[in-house]
């Protein structure tokens, strides 16, 4: 290493930046936020038309064969413009898992629709009280005539209210509820009898739900991946998802720093621009350094994932941990330097802050990732 973007990647970056700059103003974003779905379906359709939703699928599946780098490039722009549309949930997670492990019938039924923006997905894998551990699965899938019978409860299913398809983890073997072995993944259509949702919004403006499964009967084709081996199936997809949210975080931090620099230049107190106060100048220098360090780690991680480097997983852990710290530092100080208006709903700063807070808690806390990092040889 080190990476240079290919021509296609540079184009993807530039065109995403251009499209969003011209079509994704903060005002439009706020209007979309107020809708039930929490996003703009027409935008989603445009994303599909621009080829973004298909970008990272294999060519034989109708995609463009992009990898972690393409995911990173897109998501960094999504972060910069505070994009609300459920790319992470529908494409990275559900699309990625389906492509990696879905059986032919399910793939045919859903994959093209996901890429075309016609269908949405949501991954239901967390259970109450065990947010830090996706391997804690109490939901059960019993083998039944021609398939499976699912029972259980899933918490904080992001994009659940909009999903046509849920991917749900349930235990098919091993009675130890937090064992990695014995977890399976199932494709459950939204209208499956026995499935019920309690919908809500999240603080960062997404829609989500709690999922209740009462004797949901599925046929054998609903199994995604090998029975009992969800953890193996999911690892690369979660790595990709972590790159996605961390790229979003870098984009968001960048936007926050720019906004803060601009604001402090304009804002006058005690007869001068507050950007002339050395404490604030150094604060912004520290924000800058945190962002660039995180960006380096992000680029390296995406590159290593795409190149199958043996230390890629270690980089993923390092990246998420770094984003946890940097995201807090940058967003807290962006608000602090904006003063009062940073704490209101009408300025973008607070929305970046809330998105970074959400990213901070998703896919494991900073400490979990630091501890994962140390489990690798260093």
């Amino acid at each position: 290493m080190f990476i240079e973007y290919s021509e296609e990647q540079t184009m993807l970056h530039d065109s995403a930046d251009k499209y969003l700059r011209e079509n994704y103003s903060f005002e439009n974003r706020q209007a979309a936020l107020a809708r039930d779905a929490g996003f703009n379906a027409e935008q989603w359709q445009m994303f599909a038309d621009l080829g973004w939703l298909a970008m990272t699928f294999e060519e034989e599946a109708g995609g463009f064969g992009g990898g972690a780098l393409e995911t990173m490039i897109l998501c960094e722009q999504f972060g910069k413009y505070l994009v609300l549309e459920p790319y992470l949930e529908s494409v990275v997670l559900v699309g990625g898992l389906l492509e990696a492990g879905g059986q032919t019938a399910i793939k045919q039924q859903y994959l093209a629709g996901l890429m075309a923006g016609e269908l949405q997905g949501a991954l239901a894998y967390l259970e109450e009280g065990h947010m830090a551990n996706p391997q804690y699965v109490a939901a059960k899938a019993e083998v039944a005539a021609n398939g499976y019978l699912l029972n259980g409860h899933k918490a904080v299913v992001l994009n659940g209210p909009e999903a046509d398809l849920f991917l749900v983890t349930a235990r098919t073997g091993n009675d130890v509820l937090d064992s990695a072995a014995g977890i399976s993944l199932f494709a459950v259509p939204k209208n499956a009898p026995g499935l019920s949702c309690k919908n809500y919004k999240t603080y960062d403006g997404r829609s989500a739900c709690e999922l209740q499964l009462d004797n949901v009967a599925l046929d054998a084709q609903a199994l995604v991946g090998v029975a009992g081996e969800f953890s193996e199936l999911a690892e690369p997809i979660f790595s990709r998802a972590i790159v996605a949210v961390c790229a979003e975080a870098v984009g968001a931090m960048d936007a926050l720093l720019n906004a803060t620099v601009d604001y402090t230049k304009q804002r006058k107190q005690f007869g001068q621009s507050i950007s002339s106060f050395q404490v604030l100048r150094h604060r912004m220098a520290d924000m800058y350094m945190d962002i660039e360090l995180t960006r380096s780690l992000l680029m390296a991680t995406a590159w290593k994932l795409d190149n199958g480097s043996e230390d890629a997983q270690q980089c993923v852990a390092a990246l998420k941990a770094k984003v946890g710290k940097a995201g807090r530092y940058v967003s807290h100080n962006a608000i602090q330097l904006h003063g009062g208006i940073g704490t209101t709903d009408e300025f973008s700063v607070g929305h970046y802050f809330k998105r970074l807070a959400a990213i901070g808690v998703m896919f494991g806390s900073r400490d979990s990732h630091l501890s994962r990092y140390m489990q690798f040889e260093i």
């Binding site: 109450e128 551990n133 904080v156 603080y203 404490v279 602090q336 209101t344 808690v361 400490d367």
Partner: protein
């Protein structure tokens, strides 16, 4: 009465007066304010007991308690999850009225603060004047026996619930910027006065902007002399900084996070309370909180000895708010994705429905979000450090 006996008396009262709906409002606080209706119910209960203003001199309706008793009362209230009472009338305007008010003003306003008949809000900050308050431009121009006020005030907490506002207004452009400021009391139902709510990041309204369009106020509503409002405000600002007891807040936060850590599980499926990295981080905050607790006791000791908080009040403001924010961040790590769930309805004490996710995480994200403002309002952390450098270290 010994302090222990006093504490028992307070507990007995709280046991009786703190009805479940009031306690629930206290539990569900996500900022310095609790649900308005529950707060006012609690205000009235304290008022009937004669305990609404322990910090006031007995002649104005105070309790005559010792400093220790007042501390015990505060502590017991907070730990029993009583809602906080808004500071603007009881803690801020009240003392200033006693210092600067005419007999008539005191006779009229003080009892109405005690009874809860008047709810006050504070009109200091302006869109162009935050930390640099002296640059405010909202003007009051003398017109016969009245003033005509024009301009606007921002970050007026609780203006939507208030019937009165005390304001700093510019009555002169001569001399130093501070020299032309007056302190004035205004009815919120005055013609030309308009309140616009500001939605906070948690989706609720606590702050407002208040617009003044030729609002007519009798000159007798001045507190102190014309152009001397800065001195009135300055003593208020000192009060706002020195007056808060952060230790009590921290104890409540500590109790909450222990509850969370004893119900949520980490990546190894252990309770977070058994996770050594988590406990080390919690200990780090707790040790700083303990050091602050004894610092606040030193401040109290100085008060008892007839001195004042002096240098230490900027310190307690900075450290107290920053410790609070660290607790918030740690809670977020424990609650994980549960903290994302936004349930504004369930944050109402009157809510009867089901809540989503663990009850101990209901307020986590909103507290985290709202507490960011604690290092901005009441003199930002930066301003406080400027003050320490200048006034304490004589730099």
């Amino acid at each position: 009465m010994t302090d222990n006996l006093f504490r028992e008396e307070v507990r007995a009262f709280l046991e009786r007066a703190l009805t479940p709906d009031i306690v629930r409002a206290g539990e569900l606080m996500t900022s310095v304010f609790a649900d308005y209706d529950a707060t006012m119910k609690w205000h009235r209960a304290l008022h009937s007991q004669g305990w609404i203003a322990p910090d006031w001199p007995a002649e104005y309706g105070g309790t005559g308690w010792t400093l220790n008793q007042r501390y015990i009362f505060q502590e017991e209230c907070k730990l029993a999850n009583a809602p906080s009472l808004p500071a603007m009338g009881l803690q801020m305007l009240g003392p200033m009225l006693m210092l600067h008010g005419t007999e008539q003003q005191k006779d009229y306003y003080l009892p109405r603060i005690l009874s809860g008949e008047d709810m006050w809000c504070q009109g200091y900050s302006e869109p162009g004047a935050g930390s640099d308050l002296a640059s405010l431009i909202t003007s009051a121009v003398r017109d016969g026996d009245d003033y005509l006020i024009n301009g606007s005030k921002i970050w007026t907490s609780y203006a939507q619930h208030s019937n009165k506002i005390f304001c700093l207004v510019r009555t002169s452009k001569e001399g130093r910027p501070q020299a032309g400021i007056s302190f004035i009391l205004v009815d919120m139902d005055s013609q030309g006065l308009q309140v616009e709510p500001i939605v906070g990041l948690d989706g609720t309204v606590e702050q407002c902007q208040v617009f003044f369009d030729n609002v007519r106020v009798p000159a007798s509503n001045l507190l102190g002399q014309e152009n001397q409002g800065w001195d009135v405000a300055k003593s208020l600002l000192e009060f706002e900084r020195g007056g808060h007891n952060f230790t009590i807040d921290h104890k409540k936060q500590m109790a909450k996070i222990n509850k969370q850590a004893n119900s949520q599980r980490d990546a190894d499926n252990q309770l977070w309370s058994q996770n050594p990295v988590f406990t080390a981080k919690l200990a780090d905050i707790a040790v700083d909180a303990l050091a602050l607790e004894y610092t606040e006791l030193r401040v109290k000791g100085a008060f008892e000895a007839g001195g004042n908080a002096g240098a230490l009040s900027s310190l307690t403001k900075v450290v107290g708010t920053e410790i609070g924010q660290r607790f918030n961040e740690l809670s977020l790590e424990v609650m994980g994705e549960h903290a994302l769930v936004k349930q504004l309805d369930a944050l109402q004490p009157s809510y009867q429905g089901d809540t989503i996710g663990p009850d101990c995480g209901l307020t986590t994200m909103a507290e985290y979000i709202n507490n960011r403002a604690s290092t901005i309002y009441g003199g930002s952390a930066e301003i406080q450090r400027d003050i320490i450098a200048k006034r304490v270290l004589r730099l």
